[in-house]
């Protein structure tokens, strides 16, 4: 059996296989300030009175927070009231952050869990061997009421990464390269699995980055088996027991030689439009964003700070740095990273999804171009429909901010 089949079987109560339609118990339901208001309205519309288990439902205001206007404030007010009334977990700003970084860091997601979130990047927790997937607000409302979700058990597509990594090649480059190879629907409705000697040496931060972008290849989730690195990450976090999830069967296997991979950039307007950074160094930019649920972790800011230390952001470029959670913001402060960014001429934002979706805190104007460590570069994603987003890792983003154009980190270090 595959990892996906094993986890889903344990939530159905009998052995199930790929392509079967099942009702499965969920361990955690998530919604944010875009999707929770819809889910809450659906919850009320279906006549539900009480959530199935308040300790298994998390509401995180993160997209338009700190609230950018009256409408977003009303949405979060609705979430806050629902959370109070139903006794579900709610993370206030200043104590929370971006949902997909926050939940695993708070120990709310563990290996073997089945997690549904009303946000497409819920697949991030697959890095902990949790079957985690995005659902619509209506499905989230159903799960909040009944503690169950309907699923078609996905087939499994395994990616084995081998070879020595070149300098400045990070989890982001591995996943961008993979999406570039298979396309935006290359893993449609499949559980992706990332493994091999390269993955077994990757930090949890890099693993989360990879799992986060499984959806950009159409993946249902992005799974990484449990090993010493996972166990070490969970040591200070897990408040429950969890199973050690090991590799099982796979329906398809693809091997990727990493020794040939240079830092990658996904060009407009698709995460699959991937090129090596060296082919793009002529492209001038207006803005750089380092943050998001893809690359907003402490390790990411350490990498960016290493490039930016003692340097200045190019006069024509705005650099926006967004630690994903309050804890990461604080740790970045204590390590002196925020001072490095500020001295370089960057603005350091409170945790928010903000510019990634063109929401606020760094929206692009007509014809403007950004390098971002985020996950999507569709038309108009970060603002004006004639603006452009190039997706890259934090080291490339930092180097580009200094150069005023897309740059390889080697050029500035």
């Amino acid at each position: 059996m595959t990892i996906a089949e094993r986890i889903i079987s344990s939530k159905v109560g009998k052995e199930v296989h790929s392509d079967e339609f099942v009702m499965a118990r969920v361990d955690l339901v998530l919604a944010n300030d875009i999707t929770a208001p819809l889910a809450i309205k659906e919850f009320q519309k279906m006549g539900a009175k009480k959530v199935f288990d308040g300790s298994k439902i998390v509401l995180v205001p993160d997209h338009y927070t700190p609230c950018k206007d009256v409408q977003s404030a009303e949405n979060v007010r609705l979430m806050r009231e629902f959370a109070r009334e139903q006794g579900v977990i709610f993370y206030e700003i200043g104590r929370g952050g971006i949902e997909h970084t926050l939940l695993p860091d708070e120990g709310l997601v563990l290996p073997g869990d089945l997690v549904v979130g009303a946000d497409s990047h819920t697949c991030t927790y697959g890095a902990l061997s949790s079957f985690a997937t995005g659902v619509g607000s209506t499905d989230a409302a159903f799960a909040m009421a009944f503690g169950e979700i309907w699923l078609r058990v996905p087939k499994t597509m395994r990616f084995i990464y081998y070879g020595a990594l070149q300098p400045f090649v990070e989890g982001k480059d591995l996943i961008l390269y993979t999406i570039g190879k298979i396309g935006v629907d290359g893993a449609r409705y499949k559980a992706m699995e990332f493994c091999g000697e390269v993955i077994s040496k990757l930090s949890m931060a890099d693993r989360f980055t990879m799992a986060n972008m499984a959806i950009e290849a159409g993946g249902k989730t992005g799974l990484i088996p449990v090993d010493e690195i996972t166990i070490d990450y969970l040591k200070r976090r897990a408040k429950r027991e969890y199973p050690i999830i090991e590799l099982g069967d796979a329906d398809e296997i693809m091997e990727i030689d990493c020794s040939q991979i240079e830092p990658q950039v996904a060009c407009p307007f698709s995460p699959a439009n991937v090129k090596p950074v060296k082919e793009l160094t002529h492209i001038r930019i207006d803005q750089v964003v380092i943050g998001s649920c893809t690359n907003g972790r402490l390790e990411d800011f350490r990498r960016a700070a290493r490039i930016l230390k003692g340097k200045k952001v190019h006069p024509d470029v705005r650099l926006i740095v967004i630690p994903a959670t309050q804890r990461i913001w604080e740790e970045s402060l204590k390590e002196g990273l925020l001072e490095i960014f500020s001295s370089a001429g960057a603005v350091v934002s409170p945790p928010t999804c903000g510019p990634c979706l063109g929401g606020h805190m760094g929206v692009l104007g007509k014809g403007e171009r950004a390098v971002a460590t985020t996950n999507r570069n569709f038309p108009g994603r970060m603002g004006h429909k004639d603006s452009e987003v190039y997706l890259a890792n934090p080291s490339v983003a930092a180097a580009s901010a200094i150069k005023g154009r897309i740059a390889h980190p080697e050029e500035v270090i």
């Binding site: 063109g358 569709f378 108009g380």
Partner: protein, 73 residues
Amino acid sequence: MKIRGRAITVGDNIDTDQIIPAVYLTSTDPAELAKHCLEGYDEEFPSKIKEGDILVAGKTSAAVHPVSTLLGR
């Protein structure tokens, strides 16, 4: 079941940002969302369609906000 109407085709990979640009997602009202239906695909799209039209898309993905957007028309 037979459905008759003018068919409008939009091709593959019509992602959620094309169906309803994220900047409008502070609203949950289908009628309000519908004013920006497929604006990310074609800015003029909302003015090009009328009630009873049939939208034909290829391989794609959608969440609830996009569905509400389409229902609002």
